[in-house]
Symmetry: C2
Subunit: 313 residues, 2 copies
């Protein structure tokens, strides 16, 4: 693997691009023209856990993309559809790696082409300081697995390259247990953060008093686990333990769904909570708490179209 | 009834004070000194559905209160405890009328004195424009009923005076059916508005698509009705119908809990959702949806003490 295209240069895309540039030719497909211009002019800086300054070839025009063997799709869930449409009909032998939050991204990719697909979940995190500077905060793993008929050797090739670039990665014969662990975790934590305004801090694990937020998160995790079990998935990690561990890990993490809500941007609720709720309905597993969070976040998104008037009480 | 004291001059307190001043001597106990000074200097203006300019004797010092036969407690739930403490030991023959949102205010009053208590709920609404100007928007009824051993004749006396002042009022032998109707309504609507940022608009009654917010509100209403039934209360109005009607009533209402959240003020969640959840637990009625809203609003309040740091994802 010599040439990699990163689609979507948010925090995760930038972390991949910055590291992979040390071992590959890296192109970046951005959504905004200015973002591509800034990357071409200044390169991409990664600070924090790594300290890198990478040269990348960025463009917002899919026609201008140089050929590549691997594309890493790292858009937000809300940008997935349009990103995949830009790739449709191009680079038919390239491998597409999905590392979005939630589940269901592979189906969207497949609907637009016959590329071999590698499923991914990443536990890396960072903070975006500018279009050309991202801070690497948690140097945790990315897990990859085959989707449909993708040979495992191909998954391992991608994993090897990512590892040579200095990132932590694991190739798994079946990613779904990990994907679902993260799905249940994200579905329990992210909308709760988005609705309360709390970063993912100690409140999420607190179960001392009856009113403590941890009870709610625990209830959400239990619903999610029931759906996973009904779908025949044996979870790789217990989402409640993931939650407790994450809240003990120093500075509280600020989930992107909370940022989206703060910025009045459409959230990733569809691929996260939406996927889980639909799977629950398909398998007759009751998910009242996730349905409630789903309706509340959708309501929140709707509120940005509303200008309030009227009386108080 | 010649002398009435209004405790708490928010929207509801100001509407009572402004109207009652046309038939009684009205004193007002405020929380803030400047509020009392402004009322004494400028009087109290009511615009909108009524057009009044009232003289009131306001003070923030309970020692300076003139005697009265009736006090109307119209603080927010969060200001109840300190307001009642100010009255403790004073005016033992006065009747205390509670018109707070939620349930449980009467118990707080009783804990501080042996006054006869009249329970109230009010459906009036308005908008506060300044310390001395409130706009009267919905001229809907206030309902009163006896608490414990309070003679019904006393309830009727209070109702008569309020009616002479030009407000709509009804005296009921048992207020609990109305109080509980409003409790279930408020518990279903107010936290949902506070968490989504939506005013009480058409979304709350929408049940066309599976994701529509109305399903959630309906589920909350059903939980609330189950608790009321277990408590032996036959509801005066169906809270779901109250919800549907209210959303069809022209300009969308902006619940005070949403304003509190916008202003990062402590909300009335304890007397509303908290009362309902505790009653559900006491009577072994499951209230998972209300418990979730409760935990989310408490989390929201906690978030104002947190300054976020850390990475994104």
């Amino acid at each position: 693997m010599e040439r990699v295209c990163i689609v979507g240069a948010g925090v995760i895309g930038s972390l991949f691009a910055g590291h992979l540039a040390s071992v590959c030719e890296v192109s970046v497909l951005t959504r905004r023209r200015e973002h591509a211009d800034a990357l071409n002019e200044n390169g991409l800086r990664v600070s924090g856990t790594s300290d890198l300054h990478a040269r990348v070839a960025a463009t917002d025009d899919p026609d201008a993309l140089p050929p590549f063997e691997v594309a890493i799709l790292a858009t937000k869930a809300t940008g997935l559809q349009s990103a995949v449409q830009q790739l449709a009909g191009r680079f038919p032998t390239a491998t597409i790696v999905t590392v979005l939050n939630g589940i269901g991204a592979e189906e969207v990719v497949r609907a637009h082409g016959a590329w071999p697909i590698v499923s991914g979940v990443t536990f890396m995190s960072g903070t975006r300081h500018s279009d050309t500077h991202v801070e690497y905060i948690l140097d945790t793993e990315t897990w990859l697995g085959p989707y449909e008929e993708t040979p495992f050797a191909l998954v391992q090739d991608v994993a090897d390259t990512i590892e040579r670039a200095g990132l932590k990665v694991e190739a798994l014969p079946d990613l779904r247990p990990a994907q679902w662990s993260k799905l249940v975790f994200n579905a329990s934590v992210n909308p709760t953060a988005a609705l309360t305004g709390l970063p993912h801090d100690f409140h999420f694990a607190q179960e001392t008093e009856p009113v403590d937020l941890g009870h709610l998160v625990h209830g959400l995790v239990e619903e999610g686990k029931a759906v996973a079990a009904a779908a025949g998935i044996e979870l790789h990690d217990d989402p409640w333990e993931m939650n407790v561990l994450a809240t003990q890990r120093g500075a509280a993490h600020y989930p992107s769904m909370l940022e989206d809500v703060d910025a009045h941007r459409q959230t990733e609720i569809e691929l996260i909570t939406g996927s889980l709720v639909r799977e629950g309905e398909r398998r007759d597993v009751p998910v009242p708490l996730h349905s409630l969070l789903y309706a509340l976040v959708k309501g929140k998104e709707a509120s940005w179209q509303v200008s309030p008037t009227g009386g108080q009480r």
